[in-house]
Symmetry: C2
Subunit: 445 residues, 2 copies
């Protein structure tokens, strides 16, 4: 803290000076919110917070840059001796990673909204932050404006957290909600989501669950105190989810949502992103559209849920500034690094064993298309029984007959994924079955 408002030789209110890399949606939101709520934020943080420099390829008029030094040189910000905290808001890996590294090496705190960077390179970056006794904060990387990292890491600090599960990709949730409400196909809704700006031109990160996987590893590390293992996340997207299955699930009392699920179990840690059936009695099943929600379960607190906007200029800015506020509060109290990235000191983080998806236990929704012949349903039921899998319900939906094929829909009891895969192969080999069997996991809340 090199800047200080002085009266009669006494520092009355320090100033935390921010340098921002990037001038996109989130950066503009940060400048706008900091300007609009300047006094309020200062009174909360115990110090003034001021943007002194912004670097971006292009100057834009999405926010008022009066009094802020504008440069096209991103390196200027991370090397600026008058900058205390660098906000990395350009996204992607290059040059974001190098900028963050340089800033940390220069003894600057870093706040980022870059989930991909932290999920894939976080272990090294947090070590670098530790070595330089500065903070690297990432609240805005997960679930937009929802203060979920703070809740997990501080608010629930008393708990052995057993699970974190959430709708952490607004684009995917918007698509599934539209498919359900309007009976429209995935491809059709995706085009609308792109037109509305919810989905990128290349929607892979969102619809294939990569974005959710990035966020999930951050949540899991904060909740369980483990190192990041992005490469171990099991990831399944929503492009194969059909309006038919959404409808059948609804009839059974379930919503289909794209979930990130992390569980802290005896065998290790489950890290998986996939579409899942959620019973409608669970609050999270009611989270629709672009909204995000995360359920955190602790041994003391039980089940808690956090809900809000998962994206957007000012919602994400709210989380970026919350991190700045934490740094400001610690700096204004002459403390450093009061918020370890994942709750505990980096050297205490565990290398958790990530459970392979084949060993994950859950209930399943299966749909097989069978010929409308006597005994077709019975033969599937007996086959499940011979594989030692209990069926919760099985029915064939006459109303949905296509030609001479009828969908048979099942909900199973809990069983290992490897075992259900064997049973599915066997069902697909039956003479009465056509094509492949649809398999969706059921998430319990």
């Amino acid at each position: 803290m090199r800047n200080c408002l002085v009266f009669d030789g006494v520092c009355v209110l320090k100033t935390l000076r921010l340098g921002i890399c990037g001038l996109g949606t989130v950066a503009s939101g940060v400048v706008n919110v900091l300007s609009r709520n300047k006094e309020k934020i200062a009174s909360r943080a115990g110090c003034n917070i001021e943007v002194v420099q912004i670097a971006s390829r292009r100057k834009k008029d999405t926010c008022d840059l009066t009094g802020i030094d504008f440069t096209k040189d991103l390196n200027a910000v991370v090397n600026n001796p008058d900058v205390d905290v660098v906000l990395e808001l350009i996204g992607g890996y290059i040059p974001a990673k190098e900028l963050v590294e340089t800033a940390l090496k220069n003894g600057k705190h870093v706040v980022t909204a870059n989930k991909a960077l932290i999920a894939e390179h976080g272990n090294g970056l947090f070590d670098l932050a530790d070595a330089n006794k500065v903070s690297l904060c990432y609240e805005a990387s997960v679930a937009g404006g929802i203060p979920i990292v703070k809740a997990v890491r501080e608010g629930l600090a008393a708990n052995h957290i057993t699970g974190v599960a959430g709708i952490i990709n607004g684009t995917g949730n918007f698509i599934l909600t539209e498919m359900r409400d309007k009976g429209r196909d995935f491809a059709d809704v995706l085009i609308e989501a792109q037109a509305l700006g919810y989905a990128e031109d290349d929607p892979t990160f969102d619809v294939e669950g990569i974005d959710a996987a990035h966020k999930l590893v951050l949540l899991a590390s904060a909740a369980f105190g483990i190192k990041l293992q992005f490469d171990k996340v099991f990831t399944e997207g929503i492009s194969h989810v059909s309006t038919d299955d959404i409808k059948y699930a609804e009839e059974l009392g379930y919503s289909i949502k794209h979930l990130g699920i992390a569980k802290n179990i005896e065998a290790g840690v489950e890290l998986r992103v996939h579409p899942a059936l959620i019973h409608k009695s669970a609050l999270i099943s009611k989270v629709d559209g672009v909204m995000n929600a995360v359920v955190v379960t602790g041994d003391a607190v039980g089940e808690t849920l956090y809900y809000g906007a998962g994206a957007g200029s000012e919602a994400t800015a709210s989380a970026v500034i919350a991190d700045v506020f934490d740094i400001g509060r610690s700096v204004s109290n002459d403390a450093t690094q009061i918020v370890p990235a994942f709750g505990c000191a980096t050297h205490l983080l565990k290398d958790a064993l990530i459970v392979p998806i084949e060993d994950v236990v859950s209930s399943f929704y299966l749909r097989a298309m069978v010929t409308d012949a006597p005994g077709a349903l019975a033969s599937i039921a007996s086959l499940m029984s011979s594989h030692d899998i209990n069926i919760d319900s099985i029915s064939q939906n006459e109303a949905e007959q296509v030609g001479d094929m009828i969908p048979v829909i099942m909900l199973t009891h809990e069983v290992k994924e490897a075992k259900i895969n064997q049973a599915i192969s066997a069902i697909e080999n039956l003479d009465t079955t056509a094509g492949t069997v649809v398999k969706l996991r059921v998430a319990e809340f």
Copy 2:
């Protein structure tokens, strides 16, 4: 911090020493959770957390007291030089207030779950904490285990918070949920709630909204940075809510919940606790049973929601320990008082003008019992019109005829409470109306 684990002359892990006043449900939960998750909590807080002394009138076996000094003298704890943090978990005003005052004067941090004490005496107590440079924390006082104070005060620090509204009394929510699901009367369900231990023998605090009002002023002060004004909260209970009105509201697409609502508007601050209709499209309308949920709306983040157990031994303990963790983290970093009670320094808190209920604007649900005569509905409609009140819907429910009386049910547009009261008097004076008109407010989310 007077206690330290020393290796080779260097303090490697400090110990934060707790003294607990009380050995009830919450205190037992604290001892149990601290013991079970000892290592995890220490690694997060950066210091050991140890209960050194407990004072209570009676020794109980609800937790393991091995290694903890037990005394019947509550004053021993607050005067114990070996205690760094006092947990006030006895509740009520006497002797809780004096104990907290003594502890603060003795330079000890205090953590309390006592909403009544803080709501009614907080202004003085926080001043005392400031004067002694210690923290007085109250996360457990609001919404049990949900880290809502932290979310409002820190996670949303970037925001101008415009509103806080929540289901913050589990007993009331349980009663309303049972009334809806089983069509049972208030009095009937209250007896069950008492038998289940959800309601006290004297249920006044819960069902008349006093408990919710205590929590609401704490939330409002943390959210808006204002002094506590418990005496200004408008409070209406749920004992007058009938199963009929719950049913009619459901038919109109609304749930009836007992809400605490604080709004930060131009005219001042609204502070009110009352039953309210919530449209079923709002997530909070789905929060049932003893669960709590709080919606916080900020100018940057938009609407966020926090959900979890509002009571219970370990859920509340989770919040108590979260406060201890914050103190531990600050102490282990040689900082003091990093968390101002209501976000900003006490001297910056504003004396907000509390808006009188007569000036509060909302939509209303009204039910009048009218004679089944032609024109009865029309005369009410025209009377509303002559009072300049727009009606959103009005209908008379033939199926619910009692003798020759029929309920007429209305939803109005937004209007000042004083104005709706005048219209209600006029309706009650009509020859075709019997008895009083039922009035319930509609809460918008």
